[in-house]
Subunit: 227 residues, 2 copies
């Protein structure tokens, strides 16, 4: 379970203070499927980064399965993150000197999974996302949407307990986007908590619960399929 209590995240730029998250409180149960929408700059990525243990609140608390994360040191954060959280970044963050296959395989390599087990797992994910012929391309040899799908595959390959997707279909045509959504929703159907930040209403509407943000605040939080 994810519990945020009065979380604030302030950024300082020169003498300007930016309230990227302003007093955010919420509870997310295991296996929930949330969408987060709102204007550009409203705090969506910052919220995801805090939930994903990539960033710490300035104030307030974040409890992940009864562990108070704000009390953990950086090593403990990194360890929890690697074991439990899959993150699809808005700007992908692929390793430029590795191929698509190696990028997706990397979390499994770092976790000590044997080649005989990890190779077919990576291959299956690439096939599911129509990247079969692009496995040996490096990121600079891929289209924007292909890079996005590699980032998605990498986030899924460890079967994390929480999958955080920051604009996963932003660079994709309708058909590729549908493929991606089917894949991550299948993970949710198996019990993985799924949080999707999106600007696309059609994508956001598929979630079971809908969060809207504005100026660092959660201004709307309602459950139920809208269509």
């Amino acid at each position: 379970m994810i519990r945020l209590d009065k979380v604030c995240r302030l950024f300082q730029v020169g003498d300007q203070e930016v309230r990227a998250l302003d007093d955010v409180s919420m509870v997310i149960e295991n296996g929930d499927y949330l969408s987060i929408m709102g204007p550009s700059g409203s705090g969506k990525s910052t919220l995801l980064n805090v939930i994903g243990l990539l960033d710490r609140p300035t104030s307030g608390t974040y409890t992940l399965d009864d562990r108070e994360t704000t009390a953990l040191n950086d090593d403990e954060l990194a360890h929890t993150r690697a074991r439990r959280i899959g993150f699809i970044f808005q700007s992908f963050h692929l390793v430029s000197r590795m191929t698509a296959f190696e990028n997706v395989e990397l979390p499994l390599v770092l976790a000590g999974v044997a080649p005989a087990e990890r190779k077919p797992r990576v291959k299956k994910l690439l096939d599911d996302l129509s990247l079969t012929d692009r496995g040996h391309h490096r990121p600079d040899q891929l289209s924007g949407g292909q890079r996005q799908r590699v980032a998605i595959a990498r986030a899924m390959v460890m079967q994390p307990t929480v999958l955080l997707a920051d604009e996963p279909t932003g660079n994709l045509d309708h058909a590729s986007g549908a493929e991606v959504l089917a894949a991550i929703e299948q993970l949710n159907a198996r019990g993985i908590t799924l949080i999707v930040v999106t600007h696309d209403n059609e994508v956001g509407d598929r979630a079971h619960r809908h969060i809207r943000m504005r100026d660092g605040k959660v201004v709307d939080d309602f459950a139920g399929k809208r269509t």
Copy 2:
């Protein structure tokens, strides 16, 4: 006028050959407003890179206002590009150690425009794209959509004769996207040739002429507003 004649662009990856552009021919008149749509990996960015003189055809010719570009050397290409073409990249390519303001100002600095003239021009563009309070933020201190708008402002600041936009609204909510489209369409209204690659049908429909690509080929090319 832009004229492509049987343009091919092949990429070699190991022993695999990718036909990113496959026998593309088209004529674009000065002041035209085109959208280019198609599946992920169909060749849209590659087509834009060739038109924008960032990449050369493997075969075929590209004539830009009666100059055969395939005969130009790299310096001449760079010179033509700097003077005439504004490019909004799918992955932004901002200078990470410069502020948003400095990123937008950079083309004017390189062109030798005096501070007294370039400062207000940059400020106006930042205001038009709702970036007024973010001018002194560096790219890593901006949201994804804010970075996208900085990339857009930079492409517009030199008043290029051709503006090439690769998925300019991919990271933007509806309102920010509308702001961007209004700004670039205003340039088109003043005679600038505008080519927009997009996955969003609502955005693509606004163009006066619609190109569809599939597997490196142009499979559709029709004029007129669809709605």
